[in-house]
């Protein structure tokens, strides 16, 4: 694991990052454009619960948002690594910061994926129904 991170600073690791930074960049132009279109300019400028849950009940939008999430976080993580390699020269610090950068991206990937995937109106109805039943039963569990 550590040797893998160190190797990412070598020439071969660098050119893989280079091409992926361009591929994800192109994917982001499309997904970011759609994101702005739907969340800022086609909805009158105000994001509501109603609108978001409606849109995310469509598998197509879930796929678009997941693509956006993965491309953005991969691109962001590589962007951070590029900067760490440019400004941090002590090997120990480099490995530490690169690891932290990817851990942050992983955390965001999990958070974002859970948000996108679990946001199902039917599922939320169920949760609220469950809560209502718990209250109806006088707070006694089950």
């Amino acid at each position: 694991m550590l040797s893998m991170l160190k190797r990412s600073g070598t020439k071969s690791g660098g050119s893989t990052a280079w091409i992926w930074q361009r591929i994800t960049g192109l994917v982001l132009v499309v997904t970011l454009f759609l994101h702005y279109l739907f969340l800022h300019f086609l909805n009158g400028g105000t994001v509501t619960w109603e609108e978001v849950t409606q849109r995310l009940s469509s598998p197509l939008f879930k796929m678009i948002d997941l693509t956006f999430l993965v491309a953005a976080l991969f691109h962001a993580g590589q962007g951070l690594v590029i900067n760490i390699h440019d400004y941090v020269h002590r090997p120990g610090w480099r490995v530490t910061l690169v690891t932290l950068a990817w851990l942050l991206m992983l955390t965001l990937l999990i958070t974002g994926t859970v948000t996108i995937v679990t946001l199902e109106p039917a599922y939320i109805d169920q949760l609220q129904l469950g809560a209502a039943q718990a209250v109806g039963a006088g707070g006694v569990a089950r």
Partner: protein, 139 residues
């Protein structure tokens, strides 16, 4: 900056590319900071309608709409300059990279003014309806 001439590069060409690169780096890092906060804020969707709407009332207040104009600048600059970098790398646009930069400045400027005006109009409308400029959580 005096050392630029001694390197034998065309003074202006080098300068445009250098400024373009620095801005690309700064806007890229700003976007990473933003996306971190953004994913965290939007995850409040999991808490249900009430908490989500409360969070959104905070981040869609006039103050944040003005900040969003700055974010929109970072997005437009980074996206268009990123495309320019890709064009230089893959389409052999190296010779024309300076004129391309200035064309994109105009295109980006127009997009920024149109989108930014939309965001500021919203902020002003909200304030006309009595919304405070600074948001308060749970208010």
């Amino acid at each position: 900056m005096g050392s630029l001439r001694t390197r034998g590069f065309s003074h202006y060409r080098w300068q445009t590319g250098q400024v373009a690169w620095l801005l690309h780096r700064i806007t890229g890092l700003a976007l990473v900071l933003y996306i971190t906060m953004h994913i965290w804020v939007v995850s409040s969707l999991q808490l249900g309608e009430g908490p989500f709407e409360a969070t959104m009332a905070f981040v869609q207040s006039p103050l944040f709409r003005f900040l969003e104009v700055g974010l929109f600048f970072c997005v437009i600059y980074h996206a268009l300059n990123g495309l320019r970098v890709i064009a230089i790398d893959f389409l052999g646009a190296t010779e024309k990279h300076v004129p391309i930069f200035w064309v994109l400045v105009v295109v980006g400027g127009v997009l920024w003014v149109i989108g930014g005006a939309d965001m500021i109009t919203h902020a002003i409308e909200q304030m006309n309806h009595g919304d405070p400029f600074f948001p308060s959580l749970g208010g």
